[in-house]
């Protein structure tokens, strides 16, 4: 058992512990969940610190035979990419537990499902066997369905079902791809798969299946339809996990499996991805602009931001891929912060309609400040990690798709428009006496928000600590591309 | 031989059709007895005398009588129109005819292996007994259990419970 197993097991053990606690002891349940979230965060941070950057490559590898008849191993390993994603998961999990501190309804079950979900996410980022990765990916789906269905808001029944069917339909494609890969090479070990040479038509077909399968999660236009409903209906902590981590599973898997194993297939489909990325960025940003519900704005902005990741992936060079992975990290934190803020404000005002707000800065200056910070991060202002990530993506992608990249940069402008419009509508303008009774964010509400904002700023100021790490994970993958083309 | 075969076959089919088509349940039962006899005749043609005997003894002597008993004891009033009509008579007849035609076509197109010529006058009872109690011992014993299950079932369903 290595560190990685401990990280994956922590949430599952936590869930098992929670089963044993009587459901009436809600405070105790929350404390235990927070404790396990902290352990998870500490372990992933420990992993972040102890990953030997001078060595690079896969570290902490653990390989235990699982199904001998299929030659499937429980194989874990972490490179720069996985380490950064695991750290992201740890951060958002911890913040998510704190955000949920005031939950009253079915507390025990909520945290059990949340912990299973997080365990699945850690598993995806840290496993090196495709079947194991797929299993963890699926483990993350069903708890999410239950979480949205029971604790969600709005048209939660519809959203939960839509989300689940979209994701499982995607999985159906990746499952077929998985089976084809397995039949072709009789192993599903990612590191071994990367060493095998595949015929180009095979690569094209497999990458196409993977593109649909993982693209649903990213989400890729036009497979993105679950996202706005899913994000908006989910309870705050789950929206944070959904936008912060789950969407990144798709990007991660596309880079690790899609590009890492099937570079020729990726190269064939890359122009399509680039075009879709532009649609994601521009079209969805425009959609975000006309939304009336605050949560829908944020949800659409998430899809739009994942478009940058996609064009980074499509460009397939070191800089753009590093940028894409960095953007996943940056956007993960930023989106989580956004949803946490929306949730916190909703808890006070019980509305999410933009038209209802106005002048909130008078009553809630701290919320306004944090919102502004998040908004500025979202539109990629220098000083935040998002700027670094987007800059890397554009710098890398411009060489390959000069026109498309230029068009994509337009999305930054649109983002600026809708973010500033939201900030203006909500917080500025004349003081609205309707909200005079509101108290500003304080105490435990503030902790996760400040925690996330500080991380965003910290990596904005010292980006190299994480971009170097990611870069080390990307380098072998890019070498793979170079070998194939 | 051939003529007798076709005679028995024709009788069998006629009786069977009559059983199905008759509206009176008692008539049906009686026609069924006729068809049992015709089958017994076919058995004799195949030189399976014992089987023919058993066929008459068991089916005519026991089962048909039981059926008549059942009909007479359970029905109140007239037995006219006691055989339930079937909505699917035409469809059933059509599909049966098609199925029959297809089978006949297949049978004509199939070459059967030459039948092993039976030993005339051989004691079929001994042969049957030997087969049943050696090769088919398991099936034979299981048949006994099957009968037991049937009896238990009759009791479970028939017995009045509070």
């Amino acid at each position: 058992m290595s560190l990685l197993s401990y990280i994956i097991l922590t949430p599952f053990i936590g869930a098992a512990m929670l089963v044993l606690i009587p459901e009436k002891q809600t405070t105790f349940i929350k404390l235990v969940s927070a404790l396990f979230a902290f352990i998870g965060l500490a372990l992933s941070f420990y992993l972040f610190l102890n990953y030997d950057k001078s060595l690079g490559g896969m570290q902490f590898v653990e390989n235990i035979p699982w199904i001998k008849a299929f030659a499937i191993n429980y194989k874990l390993g972490a490179d720069g990419l996985s380490v950064s994603m695991a750290l992201l998961t740890g951060i958002i999990w911890f913040a998510g537990v704190l955000v949920t501190w005031n939950l009253q309804e079915r507390v025990k079950e909520f945290f059990i499902y949340m912990l299973i979900l997080v365990g699945g996410v850690f598993g995806v980022f840290l496993s090196l066997d495709l079947l194991v990765l797929f299993i963890f990916l699926e483990i993350a789906v069903i708890p999410k369905f239950i979480l949205i269905h029971i604790w969600g808001s709005g048209k939660k029944e519809y959203s939960a079902m839509k989300y689940t069917l979209y994701l499982l339909a995607g999985s159906a494609f990746s499952l077929i791809a998985l089976i084809l890969i397995y039949i072709h090479s009789s192993t599903l070990d990612v590191t071994q798969l990367a060493l095998i040479t595949y015929s180009v038509p095979f690569q094209k077909f497999i990458f196409f299946l993977l593109l649909i399968g993982f693209g649903v999660i990213v989400p890729l236009w036009p497979l993105h339809r679950w996202t706005p409903d899913g994000h908006s209906s989910a309870p705050t902590a789950i929206s944070m996990l959904l936008a912060g981590v789950i969407m990144k599973l798709g990007g991660y898997a596309l880079i690790r499996v899609g590009i890492g194993v099937f570079p020729a297939g990726a190269a064939f489909w890359a122009p399509l991805i680039a075009v879709i990325a532009v649609v994601n960025c521009i079209y969805i940003a425009l959609v975000a602009m006309v939304q009336k519900d605050l949560k829908y704005v944020v949800a659409n902005s998430s899809i739009s931001h994942m478009g940058y990741v996609l064009i980074g992936i499509a460009a397939m060079n070191t800089i753009s891929l590093t940028g894409a992975a960095s953007q996943m990290f940056a956007h993960g934190i930023m989106a989580a912060l956004f949803f946490a803020l929306v949730g916190a404000i909703y808890n006070k005002t019980h509305t999410r309609m933009l038209a209802d707000f106005g002048g909130l800065a008078f009553q809630m200056p701290r919320a306004a400040t944090l919102f502004l910070i998040t908004g500025l991060a979202s539109l990629g202002l220098p000083g935040f990690f998002n700027f670094v990530a987007e800059f890397l993506i554009f710098a890398g992608a411009f060489k390959v798709y000069p026109v498309l990249t230029t068009v994509t940069i337009l999305a930054v402008v649109i983002t600026a428009i809708y973010v500033l419009r939201v900030v203006q509508q909500m917080f500025f303008g004349p003081r609205n006496p309707k909200w005079d009774s509101l108290t500003d964010l304080k105490g435990i509400e503030l902790v996760p928000l400040v925690f996330l904002a500080v991380i965003l700023l910290w990596f904005g100021l010292v980006p190299s600590s994480i971009t170097n790490l990611i870069n080390q994970g990307i380098d072998p993958i890019v070498a793979q591309i170079g070998g194939a083309l | 031989m051939i003529i007798i075969f076709y005679l028995f076959s024709f009788l069998l089919l006629a009786f069977a059709l009559g059983t199905v088509l008759s509206k009176n349940l008692v008539h049906s039962a009686l026609l069924m007895i006729g068809s049992f006899f015709a089958v017994a005749g076919l058995y004799i043609l195949l030189q399976a005398e014992f089987l023919a005997m058993v066929q008459i003894l068991v089916y005519v002597g026991a089962i048909a009588v039981l059926v008549v008993f059942g009909v007479m004891l359970t029905r109140k009033g007239s037995v006219k129109d006691s055989n339930l009509p079937n909505r699917y008579k035409k469809v059933g007849a059509l599909s049966a005819v098609i199925f029959f035609a297809l089978l006949v076509r297949s049978i004509i197109n199939t070459s059967f292996p030459a039948p092993s010529s039976p030993v005339v006058g051989a004691n079929t009872i001994i042969q049957i007994a030997q087969t049943l109690l050696t090769q088919y011992a398991v099936a034979f014993e299981a048949l006994g259990v099957l009968l037991l299950v049937a009896i238990i079932g009759a009791i479970i369903i028939g017995k009045e419970t509070k």
Binding site: I135, I139 | A142
Partner: protein, 477 residues
């Protein structure tokens, strides 16, 4: 003549215990002492299960004249039947109490059905196979109609016996054609006699055997009886039908189509593929419209027959072991689901899906069991169902049926939808007037075993796949 008794010891003990139970039921006069009969049956089954592991499993043994064989395939299926009978009888301990007046005949009948299934697993000759099948079917008819004052139960029994009689007629017609064409009915002679060329009548024989056995495994279009019988039968018997009877149908199917008709696989394969696709489509699509849990599970069991047949279509050692693996996990998932239904029926007398609302509160344990069982049926990891489907689909694709895998995966998605509808019903719902459910200990035990096995096989499938691969290798040589 040498009789190899170990070949048949399980059947003899099952029969003997059944008879003993009947006699004990008459000897014990007080109601209280009769109540011990159920426990007796469970202990006896446990002993049989333990004993079965000490039977020689390596080489194929025959009882007499190749008509009755005990190979590792037969032994695996017999153990599967014993486990399912064990779980079913435990489930029935309390469930059947109002209907049996503590008589011993209910439990005796389950043993007779078990004997019939075991005969089907070992029979290597068509008449023996047929007698085993009839013994099982007939017993099931009685068990189905056991709640004789319940109109639905009686109707189900009547439907089952009528349709079974028709299917038996077809099956026997098929056998008679085979005999007429070859002069033999035992599998080894038939294999030796079959020439690669076929006559039109032989095709008919194969089609009729397919139809007759297809009835038992609920293959579309021979599935019509399933929903009504499943709904009307007492819930433990429904579970036994869905698990035991279906597995018995499959073992006969495997023997006949993998072994006897192996030469003719090019002839029956297109038909089998067409029927499998139909089974997958109809089973899953009609399940969408169901409002009662037992009917839903009936259609899902039809659909699962389709998934298992994918392994037959793959027609390989791995395909066979995938079938065996799937039957194993299917048993635990289904028993878990039916045990949850039994808990619901004991408490509310209903099995409507909408009645499940609030189950998370009234019985969290039952809702977890139902959740895990349904997820396993849907094929979601980490339950065993996922590994089973992965195994089947992998083998299918490696045999070149990529399109069929797409159909099957697509239909799994449909299945996931209707399972999710059930799941979301019992995980939410108002709880104001719901009091907590009382669930007998025996039922809890069944649920616990099935959940532990469903997740256990999903997380540690290695030992099971290894063992079943050996079984398949031994069978196909």
């Amino acid at each position: 003549m040498i009789l190899s008794w170990p070949t048949i010891i399980l059947e003899i003990s099952s029969l003997g215990i059944g008879l003993l139970l009947l006699i004990l039921g008459l000897v014990f006069t007080s109601l209280k002492s009769k109540a011990t009969l159920g426990y007796f049956s469970i202990i006896a089954l446990l002993l049989m299960l333990v004993g079965s592991f000490y039977l020689p499993s390596g080489a194929t043994q025959t009882f007499i004249n190749n008509f009755y064989v005990q190979d590792s395939l037969a032994l695996f299926f017999k153990q599967l039947f014993i486990v399912s009978a064990l779980l079913v009888n435990t489930m029935a301990l309390r469930y059947m109490k109002p209907h049996t007046n503590n008589r011993g005949d209910f439990f005796a009948l389950t043993f007779f059905a078990l004997t019939g299934m075991m005969m089907m697993a070992s029979a290597a000759e068509f008449i023996t196979l047929y007698i085993g099948l009839e013994l099982m079917t007939f017993t099931f008819v009685l068990l189905t109609a056991y709640k004789k004052h319940d109109l639905k139960s009686g109707e189900a029994g009547l439907k089952y016996i009528l349709l079974s009689a028709v299917s038996s007629g077809v099956l026997l017609y098929g056998f008679s054609l085979l005999y007429g064409l070859t002069g033999a009915l035992d599998f080894s002679s038939l294999v030796a006699l079959f020439a690669p060329t076929s006559s039109p009548l032989l095709v008919w024989a194969i089609v009729m055997v397919l139809a007759g056995l297809g009835f038992k495994i609920a293959l579309v279009p021979f599935h019509m009886w399933t929903p009504d019988v499943y709904e009307g039968a007492p819930t433990p018997i429904t579970a036994f039908l869905a698990v035991g009877s279906k597995a018995a149908g499959f073992v006969a199917f495997i023997r006949v189509f993998f072994q006897v008709f192996a030469v003719y696989s090019p002839i029956f394969m297109p038909l089998l593929i067409a029927l499998t696709v139909l089974t997958l489509l109809i089973g899953n699509l009609i399940a969408l419209a169901q409002t009662h849990l037992k009917r839903l599970l009936a259609y899902s069991s039809i659909a699962h027959a389709g998934y298992i047949l994918l392994g037959v279509i793959a027609y390989s050692k791995l395909g066979l072991s995938a079938i065996l693996f799937y039957l194993l996990l299917y048993m635990f998932a289904n028993i878990g689901a039916f045990a949850a239904v039994a808990a619901l029926v004991i408490n509310t007398g209903q099995d409507k899906i909408s009645d499940l609302a609030g189950l998370w509160k009234s019985s969290p344990f039952t809702s977890v069991v139902l959740l895990v069982s349904l997820l396993s049926l849907a094929g979601i990891p980490p339950t065993a169902g996922f590994i089973g489907k992965f195994y089947l689909f992998t083998e299918l694709v490696s045999r070149g049926y990529l399109w069929l895998a797409f159909v099957a995966v697509g239909m799994s998605l449909v299945a996931i939808y209707y399972y999710l509808v059930v799941i979301r019903t019992f995980l939410s719902g108002s709880v104001a007037e719901k009091t907590s459910m009382t669930i007998p200990f025996s039922l809890k035990l069944v649920m616990l075993v099935s959940v532990v096995m469903t997740i256990g096989i999903g997380v540690f499938p290695g030992p099971f796949t290894d063992y079943l691969l050996k079984v398949a290798q031994a069978f196909l040589g």
